[in-house]
Amino acid sequence: MSAGTNNGGWVGKRLPRKEDNRLLRGRGKFVDDIKLRDMLYLKFVRSPYAHAKVTSPNTSAAEAVPGVVCTLTGAEIAKQTNPFIEIGPDPFARIKDYPLAVSKVRYQGEPVAAVVATSPQIADDAAELVQVEYESLDAVIDGEEALKDAVVLHEDAGTNRVWRGVFEYGDIEKAFREAAHIVRIDKMHFHRFSSTPLENNAVIGQWDPRDEHIYYWCNNSFPSFAMQFIAAHLGVPIDRIRVQTFDIGGSFGIKITSYPQMSVCALASKKAGGRPVKWIETRSEHIISSAHGNERTFRDTRVALDKDGVITAIDSRHIDDCGAYPRYEPLGCVIWAQVFPGVYRFRNARIDFSQAVTNKCPVGPNRGYSRMQHLWFVERVVDICAHQLGIPPDEMRLRNYIRPEEFPYTTPNGCVYDSGNYPKMLQVAKEQIGWEDWKKKQAAARTEGRWMGIGIGTTLDSGTNNFGQSQIVNPNAPFSGNSQGANCKLDIYGEVVVAVGSCPQGQGHETTAAQVVADVLNIHPDLVTVRTGFDTERNVHTGASGTYASQFAVSGLSAVHGAAQKLKAEMKRLAAFLLESKEENLEFGVGQQGPQILAKDSGKSVNYWRLANIVNVNSAVLPAELYELTLNCRYIWRAPFKVPDTEKKYGSLTLTYASQLHIAVVEIDRETFIPRILAYVAVDDCGKVINPPIVEGQVYGATAHGIGAALMERCVYDAVGNMLTATFSDYTPITSMNMPDVKYAHIETPSPHSYSGAKGMGEGGAAPLHTISAALQDALFSRGIVVSDSFNNADTLYRAIVAKEIYRADKLVKVEKGAPKTARI
């Protein structure tokens, strides 16, 4: 289709991504592609110890190397900066977090010094000459152990407990008194893993002495958050910090917490006389020290059910391990509550939630942040109860799902699920996978002694969060609501130009923003230019701008839509004057001279070039009453949130709830214990689909991410805090070679909470974790095995099946009330 033709209705069309033209030709612009004059290169010196006292590093040998311009130590930084802001309340508000360790290291890989040189190779070599004296201290690597405070990481806090809160709703005791069945699960564990974006963290920082401004060219994925931390840390007015992002090779949330490295680059630049300083993270640095996902342990879970297996209450104690420094935490202590009951109807619940620091890499938001841990827990509870009570897992879910007619559904903690149809998704998924056929194959396989299981995983992807939930963890936190900015203008030659405050990493914002504007102006999306990446000087960002938390489809595109509507209104006023017509007689479209506005009464038209020309260049013809027109329209979209009730921990925490339902058929090899996926289906519901290929791509990506996490990827630490999976050889990220064929299907339940009916999506990475755990459970339940960890490879399955060291149902699960289904060991 030519750019001049327009059929309208671009939202919802299978439009190829605009950005693919440059990305697939290798013409993307990433941070490492940027070369600046007099640029220097930074290398971090990292601690081999997980917990140790350090004396100030001796950098003299490194500084003597030709080509080394300067070095930095934690002591130097502490003298000239403030510790980073802590989001949480006392006592953790008192800890001192600097980007380089000052007197103590708290995780293996923590930076203790930095070397700046004229080439990356010189910086690498010189970094090895920095001498650091360590006095090893006992390390604590388990969250539950950390809460005992036998080893304390941060003396200023005096405890390892970052936060504790009890989330209680309904009448727990009554529900347990009246229960027909009570199931107790001793312990479950959600493992630690991370993301493996194609591009690691990268930043160029320049503290320019000529204007005392700090310039960043980086791939941070939440710059407006990073800037607030950096400005307070460096003591610089935030308006003097310019951040630009470009093409970004994936983030999955992990790049939100690169602000410490950004600070070091700026300080190094200052020390080097204002020369720009580049830091490109290596892969092993990324694995060992960027950010991991939250690890969580679920203790003493009690589940009350009625005679039909409908869950009436859950009571549990959760311990989150956030690694050595809270940084983005303790937000994860409340963000899980966005999906408190998962997709289920139970109204009574009590979760006693604690978070601890340990001598491991700090955590950061990671695809499905904090919610996937909780949703995995809820799904395991449902699945374990189903097996214990002898209810088929699909039937168990149907009995417990929130029903379609109940939407919008207010959860026990005040969140409003906008729309959904979980039974329909289950039906579609069963049809797609061929449920009945697989059940027959499974029965046949079992007669042959094979271990085959079918698992269902239902999950939620809550998008566009209410930052007011931060006040539940810290009533003094100065955040609430959510906002996104966009600008839409007719440039001086009439080009439609859109700028947004997001920093896409593969989500196709360029394309979807163009689709939205094209529909507003009734032109082809190719006639809409979308400025890619984030730039503070475009002045379209708010304090919540960035790309995270599944929100662009709602917040970002609502801002774009608002800006386009403002522009359209201005264009109408101007065109009505020029065409001597009434606004209601004007029609937007494309004519022989390109995009235009036509007066239907006279047949006269004006093209975009002339409109822009009159406002910007030929302005003497403009009457005074139209002077206010700029054709350059900024719009800030604000989510309709209120501050939650911080005492009751009650309120709307998220605007939209996309959902995913996956089914997997898994067989465990009886010789090697390797679990293999025989069939897999992913059904998605993100409301109105703006661009189907983009949604499908994100579903496949998230599914790969989740399968990798479930079967291959985990961060392993030994007892003294050595990370044993610091390279891809050991971390074993999933690749196309390991991916099964995934069938994709979707349903649409439009959201009443967004102008387009769309919901944020892209974080359905948790679904395979639930699904594969459930499939393994189904395969092994008859052997007395209850899957209680989110990570399962051949080794864990051998330990469960043969060695009987883990997953023993007789030790993990107890049916206190009602008749259990007896499991054979």
Binding site: P48, Y49, A50, Q108, E128, Y134, S136, S284, I288, D718, A719, V720, G721, N722, M723, L724, T725, A726, T727, D730
Partner: protein
């Protein structure tokens, strides 16, 4: 990661002679496998350099040693801390000397804690390599005290 080791052997020399040998860095240190050199700071502190090679990771380890316990002629214990490319090591090595017949029974025990990326790159090789080197040290001690 931690590597623990221990054992005992008997020599014909008296506990005093064995003790004096073990607590003299100039005699003791050269028995360390792949010993390259040493620098004595005082009678209780010295630093040694040893070659380290684990697969493709090769380099020199600088280890600072301290004679932490010295009870003549019953017990001597060393503590050490060193660094090599990709990791650090903290170690303790103790010797209990028990009169046995006309000679001495030497009961030895120790632990090495390895820190750093070395453990993930070469983790599986460290324990057998460590045990092999400890055995070399003990063999050397036995030979020297013969």
């Amino acid at each position: 990661m931690a590597i623990k080791f221990g054992g005992d052997f008997e020599v014909a020399r008296s506990p005093e002679e064995v003790y004096d040998f073990l607590t003299d860095p100039r005699k003791f240190a050269p028995l360390l496998p792949d010993f390259q050199g040493m620098e004595v700071q005082d009678e209780r502190h010295f630093a040694v350099k040893v070659n380290v090679g684990i697969s493709y990771i090769k380099g020199t380890a600088n280890v600072k040693m301290e004679l932490a316990e010295a009870t003549r002629p019953n017990r001597a214990q060393y503590k050490g801390q060193g660094s090599v490319a990709g990791g650090n090591v903290s170690l303790t090595a103790g010797f209990d000397l028990i009169p046995a017949g006309g000679g001495t029974k030497v009961a030895w025990q120790g632990e090495a804690q390895i820190f750093g990326r070395l453990t993930s790159v070469a983790g599986g090789l460290l324990e057998p390599l460590g045990k092999k080197n400890v055995q070399k040290l003990i063999d050397g001690l036995q030979a020297a005290l013969r």
